[in-house]
């Protein structure tokens, strides 16, 4: 048997799904869209029940992929029973979806969740009356405390063996006659669930009108009777209004509010602080700082900087060194001053683990005397080393994602969107994009994963596109290395700082340019619920994390590994690859490719001269992991002292690496999280942005280096151009506004 879980976002659906399916849960994708499909099995009944967790939705309209997926699943695949989870603390709005589900010919059971909170606040909900009014069984549960789950499944199992005829709450409204005619006509066409389709057709739902244009034409004369009311022929409005009128009418009979207490709820109190007029933004900055500190800091809580506490003196480190694990700590962290944060600690542990595996395997090859063979090279230098580069970031990727999940589940993420929306609207984004973009400074992979909850696909694509422009942790070593060779060493820190600023500026410009060129001018609507604050559930967090880990491992074992092998092959063989491996990377195919591609990058300045191909090769190996840019440059003999690029060339090279394709892990994540078309635009944009920005920077810098006055003239000309363009746009807008007013 097959049961589907349907409900609003934030109604506790995930918690219920996890406690029903436990370890059997697995996540796939709905065909053609980037929406998670969660499935699992419930085993505590006579027969195993296949459970499908539909995405959290507020209604069954056809606007988002989540809604289309849920709707098609219930209507076309006909589960044996739909369990509709309803948040009892937010009954009125949750029942809106219920009224739509009732219109499909499928057994429905209502799981009234969070009843414990309702009772605690002193309210009473008459579930018997609710059940009688809606004509379906209602079961009180608390998904959190695992109460009522068994009863719910037993009731659903019973309901699944019956047939339920669709009914609509709209039959009590003046739309009754119209609905009946449309239903009969669809019935005559042998349409399944005719009532559901009839109502959607009356609402002029885009999925229905294309399918049943004939019926729409036939009922048009009757529809004309309705056009002269307060809705001016807006049937969507009439239907939505009728649903809510019905809910309001019966709601008062079902719920008895406790004598109105003027006390604020805990959620209100928390909210007052977190969204305070003056404190909200500082609080947010502090919270974000703590997150980054816990993931990336090598001196936890600045204990060393402030108290001079060193790693050697702290007890818990002695514990590990005592067990012989000192090497793993020495390897990963750059300094041993201070205690590493959880992220850095796990990273060094991971590095130690993968490093040990590489040592072990190369030890085997050495013992067998085959260390110089191509297959030993493939496994040790290619696969394991590549995987080591990616996996050393895995703990920090997961930790960042864990913190995002905590922010999301607690309800704080929605508040940040609320606080920041105003600032983001100008760029065609909403406040929701803020946290993912900020996470980009840590790692693009979790940043892109965090866009999953966006409703608007365009906004999701755009956020993914911009995330790598926020310079991530793996790119930092490149800047650090280049900073040491910038002529005039005092410029080093300014150089690194300006790279980060450049990333933000280009991200903003990208957003503005893409917005200007997109056909759909309107900003995605920002009409959303601010859910009550919840304590995040440990079990749910773990489930989220496990899903992402599995997904990442799958990607790592397929696309990323394939890419690593290709680059390893290119950098270890010459064109006559059957003659064996090369000793020096400069004789490899990759080096030759670099010598050709060097000319492609000529306009960018940094590939000029005899060493030009080396920078090109380093940029290519950076696709495995960005810190490989530094490693490859080292292999090719490019270090402080041997790099003879001018400041303009260095800056252009840095800009190119900041904006070009991120590492394979990020590209793979972008592919799985964006729409198909959006992904190709994104790839193109990354290539374009890196090329153009790098070129512009080089030529401005170069003209300064030639003659200071030439550079000045060019910069002034550009500033003049931008100001002129800006003024024209503002002027045009003003004119348009005046026209509209007139």
């Amino acid at each position: 048997m097959k049961f589907a879980l349907a409900g609003n976002p934030n109604c506790g659906k995930t918690t219920l799904f996890n406690s029903l399916t436990g370890a059997t849960a697995h996540v796939g994708n709905w065909p053609g869209v980037t929406v998670d499909k969660k499935e699992g099995t419930y085993k505590k009944l006579e027969e195993p029940i296949h459970i499908i967790d539909l995405p959290g939705i507020n209604w069954l309209s056809p606007y988002t992929p989540e809604e289309v997926v849920s709707r098609n699943f219930i209507v076309d695949e006909k589960p044996d029973c739909v369990i509709n989870i309803v948040d009892a603390t937010n009954l009125e709005r949750n029942l809106y979806l219920t009224t739509q589900l009732l219109e499909i010919d499928v057994p429905i059971v209502i799981a009234l969740n969070m009843m414990d909170s309702v009772k605690k606040s002193g309210d009473i909900i008459d579930t018997t009356k609710l059940s009688v009014t809606l004509g379906v069984p209602v079961c009180e549960i608390s998904a959190l405390k695992n109460e009522g789950i068994k009863e719910l499944m037993e009731i659903s199992y019973k309901a699944a063996q019956t047939k339920r005829e669709a009914k609509t709450v709209l039959s009590q409204s003046n739309l009754k006659a119209l609905i009946e005619v449309a239903t009969d006509k669809l019935k005559a066409k042998n349409v399944e669930s005719p009532l559901f389709h009839a109502i959607k057709l009356i609402e002029e739902d885009s999925l229905e009108t294309s399918m049943h244009q004939d019926v729409l034409t036939e009922i048009d004369p009757i529809r004309q009777n309705y056009v002269k009311n307060e809705f001016d022929g807006d049937f969507e409005g009439m239907v939505a209004d009728a649903r809510y009128k019905y809910i309001t009418l019966h709601f008062s009979k079902i719920i008895k509010k406790a004598a109105k207490n003027t006390n604020e709820t805990t959620s209100d109190k928390i909210d007052k602080v977190l969204t305070h007029k003056f404190f909200s933004i500082p609080i947010f900055i502090v919270l974000m700082f703590i997150v980054f500190h816990l993931v990336f800091s090598e001196d936890l809580f600045f204990l060393n900087a402030i108290f001079g506490l060193e790693i050697k003196n702290s007890g818990w480190i002695n514990f590990f060194t005592g067990m012989g694990y000192d090497s793993m700590l020495l390897e990963g962290t750059n300094s041993l001053e201070g205690i590493p944060s959880l992220g850095v600690f796990l990273q060094s542990w991971m590095g130690w683990l993968t490093g040990s595996i590489i040592d072990l395997v190369s030890g085997w090859f050495e013992a067998g005397g085959v260390l110089d063979t191509w297959y030993a090279g493939l496994i040790c230098d290619g696969l394991l080393t590549g995987i080591d580069a990616i996996f050393s970031f895995l703990p920090q990727i997961l930790l960042l994602f864990l913190f995002i999940s905590i922010l999301e589940d607690s309800g704080y993420m929605a508040r940040v969107a609320f606080i920041m929306d105003r600032a983001f609207r100008k760029f065609g984004l909403s406040g929701k994009a803020f946290i993912p973009l900020l996470m980009g400074f840590g790692c693009s992979v979790p940043a892109m994963m965090a866009t999953k909850t966006f409703e608007d696909e365009k906004e999701r694509d755009m956020t993914i596109r911009l995330a790598p422009f926020f310079s991530c942790g793996a790119k930092a070593p490149i800047w650090a290395m280049l900073a040491t060779v910038v002529v005039g060493s005092f410029l080093g820190d300014i150089f690194v700082f300006s790279i980060y600023i450049l990333g933000i500026v280009v991200a903003i410009l990208s957003a503005l340019i893409i917005k200007a060129f997109s056909k759909q001018k309107e900003v995605p609507p920002f009409i959303m619920e601010l859910p009550a604050y919840h304590m995040p559930q440990f079990k749910n967090l773990l489930a989220h994390l496990w899903e992402k880990l599995k997904h990442f491992l799958y990607k790592a074992s397929t696309i990323i590994t394939a890419a690593i092998i290709v680059i390893w092959f290119l950098s270890n063989f010459k064109w006559a690859f059957w003659q064996g491996m090369v000793d020096d990377i400069s004789e490899s195919i990759l080096a030759d490719l670099g010598r050709v591609l060097q000319y492609v990058f000529y306009p960018l300045g940094w590939s000029w001269g005899v060493d030009g191909w080396k920078y090109t090769v380093a940029s290519i190996t950076g696709l495995i992991a960005k810190e490989d840019v530094v490693a490859t440059m080292g292999q090719l003999g490019l270090e402080n002292g041997t790099i003879n690029l001018s400041n303009a060339q260095i800056y252009a090279f840095a800009a190119y690496n900041l904006f070009t394709l991120p590492c394979f892990a990020a590209v793979a994540t972008a592919r799985s999280e964006s729409t198909k078309k959006g992904f190709w635009v994104t790839l193109l944009w990354w290539l374009l942005a890196s090329y153009v920005v790098s070129m512009v920077i080089f030529w401005i810098g170069y003209s300064f280096e030639l003659f200071w006055w030439l550079g000045l003239i060019i910069v002034l000309a550009i500033i003049g151009l931008i100001v002129g363009l800006g003024l024209t746009i503002i002027h045009k807008r003003k004119m348009n506004k005046e026209k509209r007013v007139a």
């Binding site: 937010n90 009954l91 009125e92 807006d234 409005g237 939505a240 209004d241 609320f418 609507p525 619920e529």
Partner: protein
């Protein structure tokens, strides 16, 4: 007194009279329960002055001022 939802101040209360929005915004307003006759209390403005948070049908809803401009209200004295 008639006002647009976007013109109401925090703690003011009113009843929705008419929705003038189009397309996606209209659909979303309806589906979030912003329909004629419903009671809305303005809770607060975001620190930057926009969007606005309101209490409607027992839950907290947030919407931008440009979206709130589409909602005509009868404000309670």
């Amino acid at each position: 007194m008639e006002k647009l939802l976007s013109e109401m101040k925090p703690l003011e209360e009113g009843i929705v009279k008419k929705i003038k929005a189009e397309g996606k915004i209209k659909r979303r307003l309806y589906d979030m329960g912003v329909t004629p006759g419903v009671n809305i209390v303005i809770k607060k403005l975001a620190p930057l002055g926009d969007p606005v948070e309101v209490t409607i049908r027992g839950y907290e809803l947030t919407l931008r001022k440009t979206e709130a401009e589409c909602v005509e209200m009868e404000v309670k004295a």
